[in-house]
């Protein structure tokens, strides 16, 4: 099957910033995204688990989107302006998609 190269951007961020981030992604030309709950992990602030949190303040989500390579820089600049001061993680990986016209 014919596939096409693309970039997969994954941003793990505090739940309270989710809407701000996704609004920014849409404005930056992203055609779609997926939001996943994050149950726990470990980083610079030590171990963290959703089970010990009350309300949205302590929650984290992972926002994933796939874009064409030529749109990546604009997307990262826009997204980073939102996540810069917050706890989180931004990563980019190469991927292949089947229906390139959707990205």
């Amino acid at each position: 099957m014919q596939t096409h190269p693309a970039k997969r951007v994954e941003i793990v961020i505090e739940e309270v910033m989710q809407r701000r981030l996704t609004d920014t992604l849409l404005k930056a030309g992203v055609t779609g995204f997926t939001v996943l709950p994050v149950r726990g992990g470990s980083g610079r602030s030590g171990l963290w688990s959703r089970a010990g949190q009350v309300g949205r303040a302590g929650g984290m989500v992972a926002v994933m989107c796939i874009v064409r390579a030529d749109r990546l820089d604009a997307l990262l600049e826009a997204a980073f302006a939102v996540v810069e001061t917050h706890i989180g993680l931004v990563s980019v990986t190469d991927c292949d998609v089947v229906r390139a016209d959707r990205f």
Partner: protein, 283 residues
């Protein structure tokens, strides 16, 4: 469960106002609650700067929590009053809702004075003024007020009979969460912070008692004003602080409000506030 508790307490408060009428004290009580919520963070900030080594940013973030309220502590306070057979004004629920947000603005003002923080954009205003607990509380209060006793009769089997059981279950869950928080972040609780977590609710309760006395409230409503002054937010304000003051350490304010002040209020605070309110109002 928190949605159930907010809905039940808001609805029953609205029904009580429909039955007794709002009276002239409602507007004054709302105004007093807003002023109290604006003022308490300033007091908390001064205490924190005097008692601890927190930075102005962290101190302001913590202070915001102590000007706002814990609706669960408020609900527990109403249950104590119900068990003691002491009446309270149904509109105290509206006062609780009014006291959720002003403290956040006070804290942001305290931070702005030190030249840090970020401006409040439209989305942050929406988060502050229309957070879920405020909308649910005010909405269910309005529905209870509009539908009155007939409305309550239709859903009494849902929001009256199971209420105590759900509250017990919720408090048990909150206890587990508070315990986990203390275990993971207990290291930040230096003596000064710990003392603040106990002292500040007493200061807030005293301010609430004075406010209740000035308004001429009865024992029940006076005690609830003390509870509102004494309690610290751990849901609405932390979310606002993460957006507005992301550099403030969340472990400090969450551990203090949920791990120290919340259990203090439930175990020692509520009986104390009831006793003081009885002395003031003579109930």
């Amino acid at each position: 469960m928190s949605i159930y508790l907010l809905f039940a307490i808001g609805f029953k408060g609205g029904v009580a106002v429909d039955a007794a009428g709002p009276g002239g004290t409602l507007a004054l009580a709302l105004l007093a609650g807003v002023v109290l919520s604006f003022a308490l963070p300033v007091v908390a900030f001064a205490l924190l700067r005097a008692m601890t080594r927190l930075s102005p940013l962290d101190a302001a973030a913590v202070a915001a929590h102590y000007g706002s309220i814990s609706i669960v502590t408020f609900v527990a306070g109403t249950s104590v009053l119900d068990a003691a057979g002491i009446a309270f004004d149904g509109w105290m629920v509206a006062v609780a809702a009014a006291m959720e947000a002003p403290a956040i603005l006070s804290a942001l003002w305290l931070v702005a004075r030190s030249g840090t923080g970020r401006p409040i954009d439209g989305e942050l205003w929406r988060d502050i003024l229309l957070n879920g607990s405020i909308v649910l509380l005010v909405g269910s209060f309005a529905i209870g007020w509009i539908t009155g006793q007939p409305g309550l009769d239709r859903i009494a089997s849902f929001i009256v009979a199971p209420f105590q059981g759900v509250l017990c279950l919720f408090l048990l869950d909150m206890g587990l969460v508070a315990g986990r928080g203390l275990r993971t972040a207990g290291g930040i609780l230096r003596p000064g912070l710990l003392a603040f977590g106990i002292l500040m609710p007493l200061v807030g309760a005293a301010a609430g008692a004075a406010t209740g006395a000035l308004l001429g409230l009865g024992t029940g409503s006076g005690m609830l004003f003390m509870v509102l002054g004494a309690s610290a937010s751990y849901i609405a304000v932390p979310a606002a602080m993460r957006v507005a003051l992301p550099d403030a350490n969340p472990s400090i304010y969450l551990t203090l409000s949920l791990g120290v002040t919340f259990p203090f209020n439930l175990t020692l605070g509520l009986p104390l506030y009831l006793a003081v309110s009885r002395m003031i109002a003579g109930g």
